[in-house]
C-alpha cells in the first residue's frame, strides 16, 4: 500500500501540453462501455422509487428496529463468532504455508534471473529450462488461486468435503495463498541485492542466502502484509457461512432468508465490532513491526 506524504510541492514545472488521441479514444470507449453496460445490466432506477420497491425497502428498515437482543438469540452467536475468527486464523496459516513456497518459486531473482544464478546456469540449458518452467508454473498456480474468489472456492470445497468450518479454511487458504504468493514474490524481488551478492561471494548456499540475506530484509514487509490479509480474511470468513462453510455468515443467511431483519441488524453490528477490533489489533501490530525496522 502506497503511503502519501510527498514533501515537495506536487509540480513545480509548468504543465506540458502534449496532444494525443488517447483522451478522445478513451472517452468514446468509456461512453460506449457505459451505454452497453447500462442496457445489459437492465438498469431501471425508477424501480427503486415505485410503490412496491418503496414498500419493500420500508418493510426492511422498519423490520430492523428494534434490534433483536434477546438472550435466546445472542446465546446462539458465541460459537459462530469464535469460529469465524478461527477460520480466518487457520485460513491465513494455510495460505502462508502454500503461498510462501510458491512465492519463492515465483521470484525471478531467485529462480533464473540476475547475479545469483549466473554461474549455476551459465552453461546448462536444461537447468535454465527447468528453472523457468517451475517459475512459470508457480506464477500460473498463484494466478489461478487468486482469480477465483474465496466464496466460490468455499462453495466447491463444501461440495467436495462437506459442511463445516473445514472447507472455509481451505477456501481462505487457497484464495489467499494466491494473493500472498504474488505479493511475497514482488517484495522478494525488490530487496537490496547487495547483501545477497556478498553472501554468495563468501560461498554461501542458496538456502543460506535466503535465510541470512533475503529474509531479514523482506520479513517486516512480509509479516505486515500477512497481517493485513488476515484482516481481510476475517471479513471474508464472515460471509463464507452463506454457502455452509461455518462461522457467523451461516446465521446471517438464516436470518435473511427468514426475513428477520431485527436479527440481521444485530449480526451486522457484531460484524462491525469484530472487523473494527481486528483492524485495530492488526494496525497496531503492523506499526510495531514496521517501526522496529526503521530503528
Amino acid at each position: 500500500m502506497p503511503s502519501y506524504a510527498p514533501s515537495a510541492p506536487a509540480s513545480l514545472a509548468l504543465p506540458r501540453r502534449h496532444s494525443s488521441y488517447f483522451p478522445v479514444v478513451f472517452s468514446v470507449l468509456f461512453l460506449l462501455t457505459f451505454a452497453g453496460s447500462y442496457r445489459l445490466a437492465q438498469v431501471q432506477p425508477l424501480l427503486l422509487f415505485d410503490a412496491e420497491g418503496r414498500r419493500n425497502i420500508w418493510k426492511f428498515v422498519a423490520g430492523m428496529f428494534p434490534p433483536d437482543l434477546s438472550w435466546s438469540f445472542l446465546s446462539l452467536l458465541g460459537r459462530p463468532i469464535l469460529e469465524t475468527i478461527q477460520i480466518s486464523i487457520m485460513g491465513t496459516v494455510v495460505a502462508v504455508a502454500i503461498g510462501f513456497p510458491l512465492g519463492l518459486l515465483a521470484t525471478s531473482s531467485l529462480t533464473f534471473k540476475g547475479i545469483l544464478n549466473e554461474r549455476e546456469l551459465a552453461n546448462s540449458r536444461p537447468r535454465v529450462l527447468l528453472r523457468k518452467t517451475s517459475y512459470l508454473l508457480a506464477r500460473a498456480a498463484l494466478s489461478l488461486f487468486r482469480t477465483i474468489p474465496e466464496f466460490i472456492w468455499a462453495f466447491m470445497f463444501v461440495r467436495a468435503v462437506g459442511l463445516g468450518p473445514f472447507p472455509g479454511v481451505l477456501a481462505i487458504g487457497i484464495a489467499y495463498a494466491g494473493m500472498l504468493g504474488k505479493v511475497y514474490s514482488e517484495m522478494l524481488e525488490h530487496v537490496n541485492p547487495g547483501p545477497l551478492e556478498a553472501l554468495q561471494a563468501t560461498g554461501a548456499s542458496k538456502l543460506a542466502i535466503i535465510v541470512y540475506g533475503l529474509m531479514p530484509q523482506a520479513l517486516p514487509n512480509v509479516v505486515s502484509y500477512t497481517l493485513y490479509r488476515w484482516e481481510c480474511a476475517v471479513r471474508a470468513s464472515a460471509i463464507l457461512g452463506f454457502v455452509g462453510a461455518g462461522g457467523i455468515g451461516q446465521q446471517l443467511e438464516i436470518s435473511m432468508r427468514m426475513f428477520d431483519f431485527s436479527q440481521v441488524i444485530t449480526l451486522v453490528a457484531i460484524l462491525f465490532v469484530m472487523v473494527a477490533g481486528v483492524d485495530a489489533l492488526s494496525a497496531r501490530a503492523r506499526r510495531a513491526i514496521l517501526g522496529r525496522q526503521r530503528v
Binding site: Y4, F34, L48, I57, M90, T147, I148, I152, A160, V243
Partner: protein, 290 residues
C-alpha cells in the same frame, strides 16, 4: 547543518537485537496458542488433507470437472453472462465513485471545520457546529455503507427491486461507495497545505481552493484507488450472483448446486478470463493515466 559522513551508517555495527527476549517469546507463544485453538476449532485435519479422506474427495471432484462443456450454445450463453458480470462491475464502480465524490468532501475534517481554512472562523460557533454536524453525518453514512457487507446489500436490494444484475450493480456501488469514500477521505485529509495556503493568500474563495488547490492534488490517487476497486468489484460481482444478482456468479451457483460439473469448469474458465482481462485493463489504464 550537521555534517555526517554518509558512510557512517554502513560502518557502524548493527545494534544487537535480542531475538529471544521475553516479549518476543510471549508473542510467539501467543501466536502458537491461537493457531492451536483455531486448528481444533475448525476441525482441521492435516491427515485428512494429505492423503486421507478429504484429499480423495477433493480429487474425485476435480476429476469430475473435466472436460469442460464446450458446446456452442453453452459457450454463447457463457459469453453473455460474462459480459453481464463485467457490466455489473463497471456500472457498480461508477456508482461508487459518484457516491464517494458526493460525500468525500463533506467527510474531510480539513475541508469542513479544522485546519488552515478555518483558522479565522473562531467567532461563529454555530456555523462551526453546523459544519461539524454535516461532517459527522457524511462520515457515519460512509461507515454504514462500508460496514454492511455487499452480500447483505445485495439481499436487501434483491428484496426491493427483484432479481437480476440491477440489484447486484446497486449493491456493489453502495458498498464500494463507502470503501472509496473512506480511501478518498484519507487522501483529501493528507493533501499538501502549501498550495492551499498560497491560494488563500491571494483571496481565493473556498470553491476555488477546492478546484485549483485540492482536486489537482488528489485526482491521481482517486483514479488509482478507483481502478483498484474495480479489480475487486469484478470478483465481488461473481459472489453477488449467489443471492440472485445475475451474471456468472448465479450460473456458477446453479452449476454447483445441480452437480453440472462440466459446465462449472467452462464457467470457471470464463471467470478466470474476465478477471484477468479486468486486471490487465486496470493496470494499463493506471500506467497510461498516471
Amino acid at each position: 547543518m550537521a555534517k555526517t559522513a554518509p558512510q557512517a551508517a554502513h560502518i557502524a555495527l548493527p545494534r544487537r537485537q535480542d531475538l529471544l527476549s521475553i516479549s518476543n517469546l510471549m508473542i510467539l507463544g501467543g501466536f502458537f496458542a491461537l493457531m492451536a485453538w483455531s486448528y481444533v476449532g475448525t476441525e482441521f485435519s492435516m491427515r485428512g488433507l494429505l492423503g486421507g479422506e478429504s484429499a480423495a474427495q477433493i480429487w474425485t471432484y476435480i476429476k469430475r470437472l473435466y472436460p469442460p462443456d464446450l458446446s456452442q450454445e453453452f459457450l454463447l450463453k457463457t459469453g453473455y453472462w460474462t459480459i453481464e458480470t463485467f457490466a455489473m462491475s463497471f456500472l457498480g464502480t461508477i456508482l461508487a465513485v459518484v457516491i464517494a465524490l458526493a460525500l468525500v468532501f463533506l467527510s474531510s475534517r480539513n475541508l469542513m471545520f479544522t485546519g488552515l481554512l478555518f483558522e479565522m472562523e473562531g467567532r461563529r460557533p454555530w456555523v462551526r457546529a453546523f459544519r461539524t454536524g454535516l461532517y459527522l453525518g457524511a462520515k457515519s453514512t460512509l461507515n454504514i455503507l462500508r460496514t454492511v457487507p455487499h452480500i447483505v446489500w445485495a439481499l436487501i436490494l434483491v428484496f426491493a427491486v427483484g432479481l437480476g444484475p440491477f440489484p447486484g450493480m446497486l449493491a456493489l456501488g453502495i458498498h464500494t461507495g463507502g470503501v472509496l469514500g473512506r480511501l478518498f477521505g484519507e487522501v483529501v485529509e493528507n493533501v499538501e497545505t502549501q498550495p492551499i495556503e498560497a491560494l488563500q493568500a491571494t483571496g481565493a474563495t473556498r470553491l476555488q481552493i477546492l478546484f485549483y488547490g485540492i482536486l489537482p492534488q488528489v485526482l491521481p490517487d482517486f483514479t488509482s484507488y478507483t481502478l483498484y476497486r474495480w479489480e475487486v468489484n469484478i470478483r465481488e460481482a461473481v459472489i453477488l450472483g449467489y443471492v440472485g444478482a445475475g451474471g456468472l456468479g448465479q450460473q456458477i451457483q446453479i452449476a454447483i448446486s445441480l452437480f453440472l460439473e462440466h459446465r462449472l469448469l467452462t464457467l470457471l474458465l470464463a471467470l478466470y478470463l474476465i478477471v484477468t482481462v479486468v486486471d490487465y485493463l486496470s493496470a494499463s489504464l493506471r500506467n497510461r493515466l498516471l
